[in-house]
């Protein structure tokens, strides 16, 4: 997370842990302030009654994307040092679905469950126990899952490389998607709020 400064050798291993700790505290703090410590609020996203999660995530994506793009164009950041995880298409789709189902049922994702547990919510603590149990089961079942787990390796791919278009164009399209998404989200919220009101009356 603290790349590219770490890889540049601006600070060593120990200092990097401290930096990670500070960033982690900040990350948790803002998740809590955004209301992500509440399983109700998070679950409401999946019923489209509260689009906060969508808005916060897309804001983060767009801010980080524009920031990285422009800072690297201006020569401040070396983008080749930023870690890009490898793509394993089918395993990642399955993994994403499992995480999504857990998210809807439990009302948390791994990060927000820690935030919520830190503020003393019991459901989040139970959720973390569930994560640990899941990690344990996966670890024990790994020999059976190994082949699928590492299937379809595509290496490090980015959208511009995959589609053969310029980075700037992808940036612009994601911005359009975000702004369109925001407008849509507000519309859905209003619509559903009216409906909920109508039911109540």
């Amino acid at each position: 997370m603290n790349a590219p400064f770490f890889k540049f050798g601006l600070f060593g291993d120990e200092a990097s842990l401290i930096v990670a700790f500070i960033i982690g505290i900040g990350f948790g703090f803002f998740l809590e302030r955004a209301g992500f410590g509440s399983g109700r609020k998070l679950a409401a996203q999946f019923y489209f009654t509260d689009m906060t999660v969508f808005k916060v995530m897309f804001t983060a994506i767009v801010t980080a994307m524009l920031g990285l793009f422009w800072l690297s164009v201006l020569g401040v950041v070396d983008l080749s040092l930023v870690y890009v995880s490898q793509t394993y298409l089918a395993p990642q789709i399955v993994g994403g679905l499992i995480l999504g189902v857990g998210f809807v049922i439990g009302g948390y994702c791994p990060g927000t469950s820690c935030v919520s547990a830190a503020t003393g919510r019991y459901d989040a603590m139970i959720y973390i126990l569930g994560i640990i149990a899941g990690v344990f089961v996966f670890g024990e079942a790994y020999p059976l899952l190994k082949d699928f787990y590492s299937s379809g390796a595509m290496g490090k791919v980015t959208l511009p490389e995959l589609f053969g278009v310029s980075y700037g164009l992808v940036v612009f399209l994601v911005v359009l998607m975000a702004v369109g998404g925001f407008v849509g989200a507000e519309w859905v919220e209003k619509k559903l709020a009216a409906k909920v009101k109508g039911v109540q009356q």
Binding site: V62, V73, P110, S150, Y167, G168, V171, V175
Partner: protein
């Protein structure tokens, strides 16, 4: 003229749209293959020879099992397959920037004599690889001093003592010390040791890399 009133959200949306639109014309954010060099700084490095590692030091590190550096063989795949220094990985010069090496790693380069290693060193330095080193005199020196060490006939007691130590190092790497009266130059074909120590080859795909996990 009627002023248009925008909420904070709308203002932010406009800023984002403008930055996004300009991005289309801003070009590639990745730094390409061009580089700027500080020639004076590099010249000083070359002059002081702080960028060299001796074969003795390297042999010592391999025996001790040190793992805080990467030994890179910049020769061709074929030459690498014939013989390479144990623990080395094969990255031909043309493949240096394909992502196998990190800028914060200690990298020791070697080639047959040292020319290719030195050229690779310059390329790495130009791309801001902080700690790149060259194995002094390359594989030739490795053969002369580590694998097949020799000793002069009229060697002093001290030299003989040092040679005894070399013999054991040579044995570790599967070499054969040259003793006796035979002139080193006239020794018939020295058999290269078999490659017994495991060695990863980056160019040939190498071992599958472990997935790194990152979550939300």
């Amino acid at each position: 003229m009627k002023a248009i009133k925008l909420s904070l959200n709308q203002k932010l949306a406009v800023i984002v749209m403008v930055l996004g639109l300009l991005a289309v014309f801003a070009g590639n954010p990745y730094r390409g293959n061009t580089a700027t060099l500080n020639v004076k700084e590099l010249a000083l490095l070359v002059d002081k020879e702080t960028d060299h590692i001796s074969v003795d030091d390297l042999a010592d590190w391999i025996i001790k099992g040190r793992a805080d550096y990467r030994l890179v063989d910049v020769r061709s795949e074929k030459e690498f397959a014939e013989y390479h220094i144990p623990t080395a990985e094969n990255i031909p010069v043309a493949s240096l920037f394909e992502g196998a090496l990190m800028r914060n790693e200690k990298i020791i380069l070697y080639s047959e004599g040292g020319i290719h290693a030195a050229q690779a060193w310059f390329l790495l330095k130009a791309q801001q690889y902080k700690s790149a080193y060259i194995l002094r005199d390359g594989l030739d020196e490795w053969k002369n001093r580590i694998l097949f060490p020799s000793i002069a006939e009229n060697a002093s007691a001290d030299e003989k003592l040092a040679f005894e130590k070399r013999k054991s190092v040579s044995a570790f790497f599967g070499g054969s010390p040259r003793t006796g009266t035979a002139d080193a130059k006239s020794t018939p074909q020295l058999a290269m040791p078999k490659l017994e120590m495991p060695a990863a080859s980056a160019a040939a795909g190498g071992a599958p890399k472990k997935k790194k996990k990152e979550g939300c």
